[in-house]
Symmetry: C2
Subunit: 276 residues, 2 copies
């Protein structure tokens, strides 16, 4: 980014609604930017799909935000797309692109004293081992686990439900056993999927004492802010921030579920046809 326009448009992309938790953190940190958010809801979830398919979908979505919405900066608010398609997206658009993996790994590195961190994420993110690579580059040992049931549980609205507690307990027990088998002493757990912050209270009550739960949204907002050094930081007028939301499928569902993730009404949602 050369210079800093008065009101730059930041494009934020996710496969669904989860990325609105990142948009929320961005608005808190950079209320004077304008935002265009796209949820590729017609093709979600990405987490169970292949690298090739994820890259194709993510590129089409990124191009929409840059070409049609004038985004001058892109935040890929989807761990799966960040893990598997960041380079492909960077090759496809002429603006800076920020993913969520690197900021999340930074936050884990800052939080961990033992140098051992755990990551829970989707199947595709875990299979990419993007968090392990980002951790290794920071001198952090990382152990990852796919938790494919957590997204559907959030989408069912069971964010404070005994079944969800039990599923989290099972996943974390398996992860802790694997960590112990490798003589790891993890003291940080990264929520490697933008749906998971809605499960934070349940996860927090299940992790071992002394393990810090890390939601990368705030770290992503901080990293984005470094690209806009002249833009004023948070103000009490954040509610006036301009947000345009788009989805590739049912805008009604987006409005209904999206407000839960954004923490306020998402407003009008535009329907976009990406040809898939």
């Amino acid at each position: 980014m050369t210079g800093a326009p008065a009101s730059p448009t930041i494009g934020v992309f996710d496969s669904g609604f989860g990325g609105l938790t990142v948009l929320r953190a961005l608005i808190d940190r950079l209320p004077h930017a304008r935002y265009a958010f796209l949820g590729d809801t017609a093709r979600l979830p990405y987490g169970s799909k292949s690298r090739r398919t994820i890259a194709r979908y993510a590129i089409e979505s990124a191009q929409f935000l840059v070409r049609e919405q004038g985004a001058e900066f892109l935040v890929i608010a989807c761990n799966t797309a960040s893990a598997l398609a960041l380079d492909a997206i960077r090759d496809a658009v002429p603006v800076p692109v920020l993913g969520v993996i690197e900021p999340g790994a930074d936050a884990a590195r800052a939080a961990s004293r033992t140098g051992d961190a755990l990551v829970i994420a989707t199947d595709a993110t875990v299979q990419s081992h993007a968090y392990t690579a980002a951790g290794t580059a920071r001198g952090l040992r990382v152990l990852e686990k796919a938790c494919p049931l957590l997204v559907p549980l959030v989408e069912e609205g069971w964010t404070n439900h005994p079944v969800t507690s039990e599923v989290i307990r099972i996943y974390l027990d398996e992860l802790n056993a694997a960590a112990a088998a490798q003589q790891m002493q993890p003291d940080a757990l990264v929520l490697g999927c933008t749906h998971y912050p809605l499960l934070r209270p349940l996860i927090q009550s299940t992790v071992a004492v002394g393990v810090q739960v890390i939601d990368s949204a705030a770290a992503v907002a901080e990293a984005a802010a470094r690209s806009f050094p002249t833009l004023p930081a948070a103000s009490p007028h954040a509610r006036d921030t301009e947000i345009r939301c788009f989805a590739t499928d049912s805008v009604e569902k987006f409005q209904q579920l999206g407000s839960r993730f954004l923490g306020r009404p998402v407003g009008e949602v535009g329907l976009v046809d990406l040809g898939g």
Copy 2:
């Protein structure tokens, strides 16, 4: 269908792997047909998407089976696509098209003595009320319930897991309470999603005594067989049946999961690009 060719090709379509349970029933009933199966795995699940999106995806898939694979008869082995896009598919291809809703409703009508039936299915199928309409046309009162967690639980492989039992119990308790509130006396439960037959043992042990669990796969195979009166029925050589499988995403995952649904190895899987 005019006449019955010696070895007709039957195209079978699903959003994912679940439809392989229907293919299995078809092979059992019509082992002398040839089969082309397409799983639109790059865009699954359909069950949480809108009618418009589902119809577009289903039409592209149906056209692939007819135009590229020479299917002379199509079975839409996906409740969601059958419920929301059957007419659109029929308009788009020049061959007979059989969905799973009507045969399932026939089976429920035949099984029920009280005239009251329950249906569990995906969000989109339930919202379409296709089962209610098909039931009403047969003098059957139908009560439907969306069970969005069951597909992810099957895909996680938790088909015989205490969490899955608990989720089924919660869903069926809610459904039974709603039925009681309407003075219904249901004695049939239709598995309105092709993933659910893999949960049949757990569902069977949870339903009230006297309630018959109906898997529409056998009913669909029976309905298909009526279109091929001159084709020999089941033979001991069913294992020689020609099956070509295609998927729009990771063929490895298809091979791995698909065999569980088909009950035997799916063999080579071709990767298809439907442009989405």
